[in-house]
């Protein structure tokens, strides 16, 4: 009897979900667009991907200028030369990270303090080029570099940025599904009387909720499959681990973040209040958990703190499985953290849930 009700409720909820274009967009199309866009922009096809504007007046190049220009090109800098007036206008536009000025041996490098990280990278490359130029001026002819090798953390070849990003977006999807589907739907049903209507029927509440959570699990799984298909087709990024392990992580993430959504919704007085509350949790979690970039540059205490959030270890496990073919058993400590979160949030959600 209950199995039949569950299946009916599940099928109906899924059908209704798939009729909502907005839901489809945010949970299926958006991650793919985000992935394809970011992976293209940030993968960096050129040698370094670093841009430099060199501002110098029109007259003929001195020997130093020529030598520096050659050395800069060798460093892989994407260089643009313009007049000081043009360069100044560009600088004021705010998009330049670094501006090299001067000629004939007298150079200064201006770094945009807003774009310090990018600027620092340019600075290092320009200084290298300048050293090379000086070494050559002093007669050095055999300047060598240390050979470099690109490799993924797990040592399975050179996975591009897309391989870092894809499991990140997969995890982010799980968080979004919990906060913006589970929590939002919950608070809406309570506010608009949907739960009240159900409360007058003999439908057991756990069946209704289980059906809704299962619909979300199906949707994130399909979304993950599409994301992986795009990753393989456009960026040559594919799952090197077990699909079963990936699915197990998706199930764990769904359980964890759906519970989170229900807990948060139980504290919100209505849809508007919930929107604020959900973003209050969503934005810092997204920033701190290493969805797009590693938190390497952040202070140590912040990194340790972020490691304790549920999404950080989940992403670590997803990346280990996806990129390095790791087994779930090897991800014990990460899974333990997510597991504790899931148990605590599930217990809180169960305790705080109210039909009416």
């Amino acid at each position: 009897m209950h199995a039949r009700i569950f299946l009916k409720q599940f099928a109906m909820s899924l059908k209704v979900y798939l009729r909502l274009p907005a839901a489809i967009f945010w949970l299926i199309a958006f991650p793919i667009v985000m992935f394809a866009g970011l992976a293209t922009v940030l993968s960096g096809k050129s040698d370094s991907g670093v841009k430099l504007v060199w501002a110098r007046s029109a007259p003929a190049l001195s020997a130093e200028d020529g030598a520096l220009q050659k050395a800069l090109a060798e460093r892989g800098l994407d260089m643009q030369i313009m007049t000081p007036e043009e360069a100044e206008a560009r600088w004021r536009g705010g998009k330049l990270a670094a501006l090299l000025q001067g000629q004939g041996g007298h150079y200064t490098l201006r770094i945009n303090s807003y774009l310090a990280a990018q600027g620092a990278q340019t600075d290092a490359l320009v200084q290298q080029a300048y050293l090379v130029m000086q070494a050559r001026a002093h007669g050095a002819t055999d300047i060598a570099s240390i050979p470099t090798e690109r490799a993924s953390v797990g040592g399975r070849g050179d996975a591009p940025y897309a391989a870092y990003l894809l499991p990140g977006l997969l995890g982010l999807n799980l968080l979004m599904m919990g906060l913006f589907s589970a929590g939002m739907v919950d608070v809406t049903l309570r506010e608009k009387g949907g739960y009240k209507r159900l409360a007058t029927t003999p439908l057991p509440r756990y069946i209704f909720l289980a059906a809704q959570v299962c619909v979300r699990l199906v949707v994130v799984t399909v979304s993950a499959a599409l994301l992986m298909a795009v990753g393989a087709a456009l960026f040559g990024v594919y799952n090197r681990g077990s699909y079963l392990s990936l699915f197990a992580l998706i199930v764990l993430g769904t359980a964890c973040f759906n519970s989170l959504g229900y807990v948060l919704a139980s504290f919100a007085r209505g849809v508007d209040a919930y929107g604020g509350l959900a973003n209050l949790v969503f934005l810092p979690t997204m920033m701190l958990s290493g969805v797009y970039f590693s938190l390497d540059a952040a202070p140590e205490w912040l990194q340790r703190g972020a490691d304790m959030l549920p999404l950080t270890p989940l992403l670590a496990a997803l990346r280990a499985v996806f990129n390095d073919g790791a087994s779930l058993a090897s991800q014990g400590s990460a899974l333990a953290i997510v597991g504790v979160w899931t148990v605590v949030l599930f217990a809180a959600a169960t305790k705080r849930f109210k039909w009416v």
Binding site: V16, G193, R197, T201, V356
Partner: protein, 306 residues
């Protein structure tokens, strides 16, 4: 079989600083249509939600079909049907799907096609519920309350906001429920609805039932069978002299006088004589039967629509 469909006594409910229901006593017989009539804020909805098992009362006892919510909740839910003022369904659920889905919650659901026919929604079966008109949506909500062939149906303000034609359709459905032997407990703030549909009416105000009986009994209790309404050219004049001469208190409205008639034949004759003597600029004279509205006005000093 237990005699009462609904038995409630001494119900109280307080929300923070609002004492919404203050000592409600109610007994609804099996097979009758009972109406709680009162203005918005009278405590009708809170009373219904207590009886529907949604809101626990602060004090008092409730028995539904002879059962107690605290021990027999599941059994009661299988035997009642509930329609709220507005029912929130997913926008993208189709009419037949909604009936089918709600039916699956019960052991012996009614066939959706039968319900569609009953509700006159056959041609809307495959339409998203969000595309229905107000009246059609209320009929669907009623249909959802009927999927389990309930013995007792709760209808909260079933026709509020509907146009007259849609109201008539719903009224016919409620009469059909009665003819099938089901008990109906409804709330309304339309006195014509209570008068047209209900076997018995409880007049409710400020969390209490002020008076209870058949519409006929309630109106008879006024001891005024009918009202004469006199309209004038322009605003209604001062009625002091007229009242004194006639010996009946006149209710002065902006555009007319309402004169309660205990004995229409003799009172009307006197009334016309007074109009003649005072040479009043009477333009029209209507005689209408007393209504539940008058009962409410009489009991509370306020109109239902205030």
């Amino acid at each position: 079989m237990e005699t009462w469909a609904v038995e409630a006594s001494g119900l109280h409910k307080r929300f923070r600083d609002v004492h919404a229901v203050r000592g409600l006593d109610l007994q609804v017989q099996r097979g009758e249509v009972f109406g709680l009539l009162g203005p918005n804020g009278a405590g009708k909805t809170t009373s219904m939600e207590m009886l529907e098992g949604l809101v626990p009362p602060d004090a008092g006892t409730i028995r539904i079909l002879g059962l107690d919510w605290r021990s027999d909740g599941a059994a009661i839910r299988n035997r009642i049907g509930v329609q709220f003022q507005s029912t929130q369904l997913d926008d993208k659920v189709k009419v037949r799907e909604a009936l089918d889905l709600f039916g699956s919650y019960y052991p012996q659901p009614r066939n959706p096609d039968d319900l569609l026919r009953l509700l006159q929604l056959e041609d809307k079966a495959d339409v998203y519920q969000s595309k229905l008109s107000g009246g059609q949506r209320q009929r669907l909500a009623l249909g959802l309350a009927l999927v389990n062939q309930p013995e007792l149906v709760f209808l909260d303000e079933p026709t509020t906001g509907l146009d007259p034609q849609a109201r008539q359709v719903l009224w016919a459905l409620v009469r059909q429920l009665k003819s099938e032997g089901r008990t109906v407990l409804l709330t309304t703030h339309y006195m014509d609805e209570a008068q047209a549909l209900c076997d018995r009416v409880g007049i409710m105000d400020q969390g209490q039932i002020l008076q209870l009986g058949t519409p006929r009994e309630l109106i008879a209790s006024l001891n005024q069978a009918s009202y004469a309404e006199i309209e004038f050219e322009g605003a209604a004049p001062d009625a002091a002299q007229f009242t004194q001469r006639l010996g009946i208190a006149v209710d002065v409205k902006p555009q007319h006088w309402a004169v309660p008639l205990v004995d229409p034949k003799s009172d009307l004759r006197k009334l016309l004589a007074c109009v003649e003597e005072l040479d009043l600029p009477m333009q029209q004279l209507h005689v209408r039967r007393a209504s539940l509205e008058d009962v409410f006005l009489h009991r509370t000093g306020r109109s239902l629509r205030d």
